[in-house]
């Protein structure tokens, strides 16, 4: 017997079917575009630095020498160790400042604050996150700098201490809001079960809520670290921007990002110096990529657990 014609069986492709397929395709494009952009940026940065990286770059010198002297007329050296140390020391101090404050604030907002207090605090923290980095840099220059000079009797106030505090204040709102989300994601049934066992508020938070949210909290801190690594303008303005292997928090340092920002406009396009700056870009890209991957991996872990 011959098969009935599809339309007779009721199997026909109607308008809704096409709309569904269309949206499926559109959403796929949107989704894949993020991947394309990241890939595109990476390829662009790599292409700009490629000639230098593949031909004349001495990797050992690049990563292990503290001498960044790209404009030296007789012996230009491209060592970023001092810049790495600068970025790392600033970021480390920023985390020392930001993490206790942020976690404390997140615990207060998620566990104690109620109603209006909570709403007002959340709005203020979002506002804090929205302050442009150049304004933070300005605070570093105009307020922190004279304060450090006076208080600690130092010749310059643009140093690791200044920059670390500024960067810590910048990272704090981000860490706070992500950490607060992580705490809010802990089901209330856990809190009620703990309180029913006779746990007081602090015991409930310390023994039940924080352990349950620990992966989310760690991810929040890592995103703060990523922020510290990537921040440019405030770091450029507050760090002193001088190449130094730091020995104390009163040393001026220079960060990877600030170096790119300050020097890229003054180099000849395609020169070794220009391409070396792109090599720094690739290095930064790789580091932030790994930090974000780790954060993502930890968040996934928390969803599985």
């Amino acid at each position: 017997m011959a098969q009935p014609h599809p339309t007779q069986s009721g199997d026909h492709l109607d308008g809704q079917w096409y709309v569904d397929k269309l949206f499926h395709g559109l959403m796929f494009l949107c989704g894949i575009s993020a991947v394309l952009f990241v890939l595109g940026i990476f390829l662009f940065v790599f292409a700009e630095g490629a000639g230098f990286i593949l031909k004349s770059l001495d990797w050992r010198q690049f990563l292990l020498s503290p001498r960044w002297m790209p404009t030296s007329s007789y012996n230009p050296t491209y060592g970023i160790l001092a810049l790495i140390a600068g970025t790392a020391s600033i970021t480390f101090l920023a985390m020392v400042v930001a993490v206790p404050f942020s976690l404390g604030a997140a615990i207060y907002i998620a566990e104690f604050a109620k109603g209006r207090t909570r709403e007002v605090l959340k709005i203020l923290i979002e506002l804090l996150a929205a302050i442009p980095s150049v304004v933070w840099g300005f605070i570093g220059l105009a307020i922190m700098n004279p304060w450090i000079i006076q208080t600690f009797d130092e010749p310059i106030g643009l140093n690791i201490l200044n920059c670390g505090i500024i960067l810590g204040l910048m990272a704090a709102p981000i860490i706070t809001s992500i950490a607060e989300d992580a705490l809010k994601a802990v089901p209330d049934t856990y809190r009620e079960a703990a309180e029913a066992l006779g746990a007081n508020r602090w015991q409930t938070i310390a023994q039940v809520v924080l352990p349950a949210a620990k992966n989310g909290l760690l991810a929040a801190v890592l995103l703060g670290v990523g922020r510290g690594f990537g921040e440019t303008m405030a770091v450029l303005m507050a760090s002193g921007h001088s190449i130094n292997m730091p020995e104390s928090i009163f040393d001026s340092v220079r960060a990877l990002t600030a170096t790119i920002a300050a020097e890229l406009g003054e180099t000849a396009v395609g020169s070794d110096h220009y391409q070396a700056l792109f090599a720094i870009g690739i290095f930064l890209f790789t580091i932030t990529f790994f930090i974000n991957m780790t954060a993502d991996w930890i968040i996934r872990g928390s969803k599985r657990g």
Partner: protein
Amino acid sequence: MVNLFRSANDDPHPPQSTAPGPKAPIQVAVRDLTIRYGNWPVLSDVTLDIRRHEIFGIIGPANSGKTSFLNALNRMDLLRPNMTVHGEIRFNGVDIRTWRNVYALRRMIGVVFPLPVGLPMTIYDNVALAPRLSGKNLDKTALDALVERCLRRAALWDEVKDRLHALGSLLSGGQQQRLTIARALSQEPQLLMLDEFSIAVDPVTTMRIEDVLKSLQEEMTIILVTNLVQQAQRLAHRTAFFLDGRCIEVGETEALFSGQVKNRRTREYIEGKFG
């Protein structure tokens, strides 16, 4: 068949429960208890006494105020900003609203929720949590012994003794509910409140837990909120019937189930005509 339903308890004697008489001391005295959420009354003018070492059943259809009643007893109203409690609840003769340390009160009252809440920690830590919270610094041996005793009594020991340090949340629903019971027992409470504990538990486990409850009655008072009237009939010495936020009737379970009721609605509910 009977063996299936035997308790995993080591007690060689089959569990028995004896009703404390009317002269038994009062564990919980409730007078004119009214509970509101905002302006919405969920329970009005409840007055009843719960005797020490009694299994006290509370039956009633959904929304009759049973769970709110339990929440008021261990002052969970403090966690719910819009829940207000009027009237008087005396625990061991003392008005619970005059208790300064509400945490100490809650440590004397164990709660088992309708859906199991395995806290995100190991099985061992789940059971050891309450003793640790209470500030009694038990040494390792004493704590181990306590954990084992509670897990045995909750009929869970045999299933988890080899993996005490696995996450509690990896257990099945029924096992988690027994873990919750073990956790409540680790408080060594004077009063154990169970809120429809058998919702997430299979029938065989339910029977095992019921046996456990009968044997626990020697040590503590038990309030059993249940939506299964037969469960109240099997376990409770006395039973209260809640309907639409009111306590319609409190009576000896046997009497209620043999038709000696004061209110027609009680009989209809017990016979399954509504609810």
